[in-house]
């Protein structure tokens, strides 16, 4: 039996972004234009700024979408910024985002890319 291979990626970060339900797709699109490979979105419920906005708080959906995107460290700042701007995070209630450093990650990496990297 041949030995099975596993590729471990390093220098990766995870961007997590919490926005109102329905807004995630637009932000993911911006991230992908910035070079992100893909995104995972799950649903949640959030409180905080909604209560502080008074009557305007009603315009903010309590249900949230949580976007997580793994990015390479080198593209992290650029994508982080693109997502910030796409989500209009400089407006209260529009959401927040953060980056966590990942120790390692693993997924499918195309064969030809691997060969190229190993030969270098």
């Amino acid at each position: 039996m041949p030995q099975r291979e596993m590729v471990v990626l390093t220098d990766a970060s995870l961007i997590t972004c919490v926005v109102q339900k329905g807004l995630a797709d637009e932000i993911v699109k911006a991230a992908q234009e910035g070079g992100a490979q893909g995104a995972t979105i799950y649903y949640g419920r959030g409180t905080g700024v909604r209560e502080r906005l008074g009557i305007l708080g009603l315009t903010i959906e309590a249900e949230k979408e949580v976007i997580t995107i793994m990015v390479a460290n080198d593209q992290m700042d650029r994508i982080f910024e693109k997502m910030y701007l796409a989500g209009q995070m400089d407006t209260p209630g529009k959401g927040f985002m953060y980056v966590t450093q990942l120790e390692k990650a693993a997924t499918y990496v195309p064969e030809e890319m691997l060969e190229q990297l190993v030969s270098e």
Partner: protein
């Protein structure tokens, strides 16, 4: 030697300006009272820039406006274009109608939003806590009263009152009386029907009974009364209205509120997990009001005489209308009367029965205010937008095949072609309006999950829309050829019952419920007033009955499709059976 710069650092400098702030600097300082105990952190408001207010409001408002625009504009455009292109008639009072349609859009937007933040929280907390805290009789009593309350709050109910102004007292005195002098009782009877349906539907969910016997048991007296009413010429003019009332009841207020309570009760008893929970109440809520209105019609028939009604009507019209019956005031009073009693009832139940505090009272009262304002604007738009447009378009349609005094050169087409055009118009109206109904989309998704994909979402949507289209076309044909509606009703419901007998429980539930889903607050007034305008122009006595045909259409269409799918599945299984057995060996 080349200098090394991190790419990320380079980008940071090249793109938007970044400031780095420590989060530690942002947190509020801990406040202590005189004894040195920590005080809870006070939540402070946030100052908003103008652009922030815009950014918050813009998507919020756009989404909600667009929702209603999608419901109103295509239908209205279809009616107007048909009138202009096929019937070659300009739209009269187009400014008033446009303003009216605008009011409908804004009114519905306010109303739905108010409903969501003002009334629905009551519904969901009633549904979850009431069954656990009180005994079954109390719960059922509340369900019954709630059924009446939501009927008054249903926006489409106003369409019935608007329709009353068009009915001619001379030709159909009892119908006129029912819609004018007795209109409050009419709505009350419809409400009692919905309340009864809520009670029975809940009991059914609780014990997991089949829907079929309920359908048989409700339809039998309803059909028998229909036959009885048909015997008398004066009485029979009220039949169309009675059956239409069933379609009016199941709107955006009734369905979620009554369903929330019903499902809550069933799940508190551990019976809510069935995949069919929630179905059936809508069916009963559209059948019982018919029975109620039939009984009221018979009562009115024995209580007064046509002469008395006509006399009263002529006296009434001679008097100067009191201020509270004039346009803006009447709508405002109507809007308040529709919603406030329901709210008071819900608050009393919350306080006295559940003994629960009402959270976010400020936001809830804001929601209720929105709902009332929305209702008022919507009723104005209903009268001047939807009813006027429907009436007008309906009034011009007969010009396609017969002589209408207001249309020059009518009939525009020779008789058979003209009738075909009119029927096709009606069919396409029903088909298109139903397909666009968001509630149908939701039902389609549920059905696809229920049947493990055998009944596709699109199949259901097309089956229901096809059924509604055919129903509306038949309803128009009824007015053109002056067919007695009783024959149509008895015939179609007989077919529906036969299909019900052969269908599986799931499809019976889906089919009978789909009838109620299709009649929203835009379709009902439009179709109702179109029928009345059409009947007036075609010199028919009354123009009701189109909606009732639109309700029975999908029931037959969906059940037939369900049977056909079942047949396909069993045939496939039979075909695969030998192979499966071979595989097992």
């Amino acid at each position: 030697m080349a200098r090394e710069i991190r790419f990320g650092k380079y980008l940071k400098e090249a793109a938007a300006h970044h400031d780095t702030v420590s989060y530690n600097d942002l947190i509020p300082e801990v406040q202590r009272d005189a004894e040195g105990r920590e005080l809870p952190v006070e939540v402070t408001g946030i100052k908003l820039r103008a652009v922030d207010v815009y950014r918050l409001l813009q998507p919020y408002v756009t989404i909600r406006v667009m929702e209603q625009v999608k419901a109103v504009v295509p239908l209205a455009l279809y009616l107007m274009l048909f009138q202009m292109i096929i019937l070659r008639q300009g739209v009269n009072d187009s400014v008033i109608i446009t303003a009216g349609l605008f009011a409908v859009i804004i009114g519905l937007m306010f109303f739905m939003e108010g409903l969501k933040i003002g009334l629905m929280p009551f519904g969901s907390s009633l549904g979850t806590t009431l069954p656990a805290k009180s005994s079954l009789p109390v719960v059922l009593t509340i369900a019954f009263i709630l059924g009446i309350g939501v009927t008054f709050a249903e926006p489409a109910i106003g369409a019935l009152k608007a329709a009353g102004q068009v009915v001619k007292v001379e030709t159909a005195p009892y119908l006129y009386a029912l819609l004018n002098d007795w209109s409050e009782q009419l709505v009350l009877v419809v409400g009692i029907g919905v309340g009864t349906a809520a009670v029975l539907g809940t009991i059914r969910l609780l014990y997991g009974w089949s829907l079929k016997p309920f359908i048989y048991a409700t339809l039998t007296p309803t059909i028998l009364l229909t036959v009885y009413i048909q015997q008398n010429e004066e009485l029979s003019k009220m039949l169309g209205l009675a059956w239409d009332c069933g379609a009016v009841t199941t709107g955006p207020v009734t369905v979620p509120l009554v369903l929330a309570l019903g499902i809550g009760i069933a799940s508190a008893a551990g019976k809510g997990s069935s995949s069919l929970s929630g179905f059936g109440i809508v069916t009963l809520a559209s059948l019982f009001p018919i029975l109620g209105v039939e009984l009221l019609a018979i009562y009115v028939f024995y209580a007064t005489t046509p002469e008395a009604i006509i006399a009263a009507a002529s006296v009434g019209s001679a008097e100067v209308a009191a201020w509270y019956t004039q346009t803006p005031y009447a709508e405002v009073i109507g809007g308040i009367r529709a919603i406030v009693p329901l709210v008071i009832f819900l608050v009393i139940v919350m306080k006295l029965v559940l003994r629960e505090k009402i959270h976010n009272a400020g936001i809830i009262s804001y929601g209720i205010a929105l709902a009332v304002i929305g209702m008022v604007i919507f009723s104005l738009g209903l009268t001047y937008g939807l009813a006027m447009l429907g009436n007008q378009a309906g009034g011009f349609i007969p010009a396609a095949f017969s002589e209408v005094s207001s249309v020059e050169g009518s009939p525009l087409y020779f008789f058979s072609l003209g009738i075909l055009i009119a029927l096709f118009f009606a069919w396409a109206l029903g088909f298109g309006a139903t397909l666009a109904e968001p509630a149908l989309n939701a039902l389609g998704i549920t059905v696809e999950q229920l049947t493990n994909g055998a009944f596709k979402k699109s199949t259901l949507m097309y089956a229901v829309s096809f059924g509604v289209g055919c129903g509306i076309a038949i309803g128009v044909a009824k007015i053109v050829f002056d067919i007695q509606i009783a024959y149509l009703l008895v015939g179609f419901y007989a077919i529906a019952i036969v299909l019900t007998y052969f269908s599986s429980e799931e499809f019976v539930n889906i089919a009978w419920d789909s009838a109620g889903v299709t009649t929203g607050p835009v379709t009902v007034p439009l179709v109702l007033s179109m029928g009345l305008g059409f009947a007036n122009a075609a010199n028919a006595i009354e123009g009701f009955g189109i909606l009732s045909m639109a309700s029975i259409g999908p029931i037959i269409a969906v059940q037939a499709t369900g049977l056909w799918i079942n047949m396909k599945v069993t045939r496939k299984r039979k075909k695969l059976q030998p192979e499966l057995e071979a595989a097992e060996i």
